[in-house]
Symmetry: D2
C-alpha cells in the first residue's frame, strides 16, 4: 500500500474571496488533488479556505482529502471545506505541525506564513513559493540559511513559481528528490 502524500498550502488567513491570492490558493488546492495529494492547511479562512475549496473542485476529489489543523480547540471554527479537523489547542505553535506536510506551497502570506516557511525549511521539506504579494514572493528562489539540508537536491532552495500551474509542475517534478530525515 502506498500512502497518498500531503501538500500544505500556507498563506494569509485574511485574504478576501475575490483576491488574486485567494484564486491562486484555490487553484493550488485543486491541482494538488488532481496530482494525487491530500491538502493540509491551518483550517481557517483566506488562503486556507481557498485551498480546501479548490481541493473539493478537483475531479479526483473524494471526501477526506482536506485536513485542517486548527490552532484552537473548537472544531466548529474550521472552514466549510475542511473534511478532517484536528483541533490542536496549541495556538500558533500548530504552525510547526502544518509545516511537516510532505510538500509545502506558500501563496503570499504574513508573519504566520513566515513561521511556517521557516519550519518547513528546518524540517527539510520541499517548498514552492508563488510570486504573489507577501513572504512567498520575497523568499522564492532563496535559501533560508546556509546550513546543508540533508536529503535535498544540489540546487535546493525555496522554488519560485509564477502561477498555480507552475507551482504544481515544480512540486510534481521535485518532491520525490527530497528525503527528509
Amino acid at each position: 500500500m502506498t500512502r497518498r502524500p500531503t501538500l500544505a498550502v500556507i498563506g494569509d488567513g485574511t485574504a478576501e474571496a475575490d483576491s488574486e491570492v485567494y484564486a491562486a490558493a484555490r487553484e493550488v488546492g485543486r491541482r494538488a488533488v488532481d496530482a494525487g495529494f491530500r491538502v493540509v492547511t491551518g483550517g481557517l479562512n483566506g488562503v486556507m479556505e481557498a485551498a480546501c475549496r479548490g481541493a473539493h473542485e478537483s475531479p479526483s476529489y473524494r471526501e477526506g482529502d482536506t485536513l485542517g489543523l486548527l490552532p484552537g480547540s473548537n472544531a466548529g471554527n474550521a472552514n466549510a471545506w475542511v473534511d478532517v479537523v484536528v483541533a490542536t489547542g496549541l495556538g500558533h505553535a500548530r504552525n510547526a505541525i502544518v509545516a511537516r506536510a510532505d510538500v509545502v506551497v506558500a501563496v503570499g502570506g504574513g508573519a504566520g506564513t513566515l513561521s511556517e516557511l521557516a519550519f518547513a525549511w528546518i524540517h527539510g521539506r520541499p517548498i514552492v513559493a508563488l510570486e504573489l504579494p507577501g513572504w512567498s514572493r520575497e523568499l522564492g528562489g532563496r535559501r533560508l540559511d546556509d546550513r546543508p539540508r540533508p536529503g535535498t537536491p544540489d540546487d535546493d532552495c525555496v522554488f519560485a513559481a509564477a502561477s498555480a500551474a507552475e507551482a504544481l509542475r515544480v512540486v510534481v517534478e521535485r518532491w520525490q528528490q527530497y528525503r527528509p530525515a
Copy 2:
C-alpha cells in the same frame, strides 16, 4: 454539509496482534467506521494499529478514514493502516491532541492512555472504556474529578462497556448529548 465526526481509539501500543485487547480495538475500529466515524489514533502499533486495521475492514470504509497523530517527525513510522499521517514532532504532548477527537474509546492501556483519558475528560469529551485489563477497566463507570463538565449529560462519567459492540452502542446513543465548549 455535515462533517463526519472523529472517534479516537486509545490503548496500549505494545498489545500483541493475538491478544484480546488487539481484537477488541480492531472491532472498535471497524464498528466506528460502520457508524459513520473517522478513526483517530496515535498512529503507532498495538491498539493504534488494531483500530486502524479494523477501520479498513468495515464495508463502509473509504481511503482517508484513518488518521494517525504521530509523536515523532517521521511519517514513515505510522502503521500500515493509517491513511492520513500527521507527524506532530511534539513527543508525548501529542496525546493532548488525540484526546480532542469528538469521541474517545479506551481499550486497556497504560500510562500514555491514562494521560489521554485525563485530557479527554478535561476537554469535555464523551469517553467509553472497555472492561479489559488496563486503565480502561479501572476507570469505567467513574468520573475523573468532581468539577462539573459543562455541556455534558446529568449522568456524565467514563462509560463502561463490556465489549466492542456495546462500546459503539454507547457511543452512538451518547455522543450527541455532549456539547464541549
Copy 3:
C-alpha cells in the same frame, strides 16, 4: 557547576487557601526550597499558588526560585508568587512540560493532575504522592503500568507520603536513584 534540580508541585487549581490541600502544598513548596530545589508549577491558583507561596517562605528562598508554566499566553495570569513566568500558549498540553521536572510531587488533584502524573510516569520521573483527597491519594504506592521504566530503582512506584515532611524525606532519599533517559 551543578545546576539546581527542579521539583514540580501538581494539584488542584481550585483548592481554597484555607484547605488542607493548600496548606500541604505550601509546606511542600517551602521544604523543597529548603532542600535545594527550584519549584515548578503550572503557574495558576490553588495548589500551584500554594507551592510558590511556600517556596517564598523558605529561609533559603531567593528570587527566581519559582517557575510558572502557564497554559495561556498572558504572563499576567501567573499567581503572585511565580518569579519566572513562561507563558506557553499551549493550553493543557503544557502539562506534559510541567511533568518533565526532575521530581514531581502530587498534592490531591483532579483530571489535570492525573494527566501530569501519567506524563511524569512516562518520562521516568520520581513521583511522590500525598495521602490527600484526589488522584495523589489514589495512586500512591502504585505503578501506573507494567512496562519497565529504565533508570529507576527496583521498587519503583508512585511513592506515597502521609505529610509534606514525609514527601520531602522521600524526595531527598530517592530522587538521585532515578536516571531518566
Copy 4:
C-alpha cells in the same frame, strides 16, 4: 511585587565562540541582566550559550537569571550557563514559546531564528535585531506584515541596532510602549 521582565536572545546555535555574532550575543546577555531582565534562550549552543554566559558576567547577575527552553527532553543538553532548564520535549515547536518572552533580541540567525522572529511578531512582542549576518540584519527596520499589532507604538517595526549597546538602549526605551494582549 513587580516581576522581573524576560528578554529572549535568539540566533544561530552553531555560532563559534570566537565569532562576532557570539561576542555580540554575549554582550546582549550581560547588558540585559544589567538592565534588570532575566535572559531566556533555547538553551543550546552558539548564540544561546553566548547570551547565558554573558548574563553570568553582569555585576547584577544572580543564580536563576538564565532560563533555557530546550527542544528535547534531556536537561543535560543545556549549555553550562543555563540556570533554569525547561526540557520541553516539543522539538522545534518550542520556538513558539521562546518568542513569548517580554522582549526579543535577534543576533544573526538562520531558519530557526526566522521562525522565532515570526512568532515574536505574531505575539505582539517588541523586537530588536542586530545588524549582523543573518535574519536579524535582513529584517531590522521592517514590519513582518501589514496587519496592525494592537498595543504597539505608531512606528512599530523590528527595530534595528548597530551594536549590543544600542540594542539594549532601544529595549529599555521601547519595551514598555508595548502592551501585548
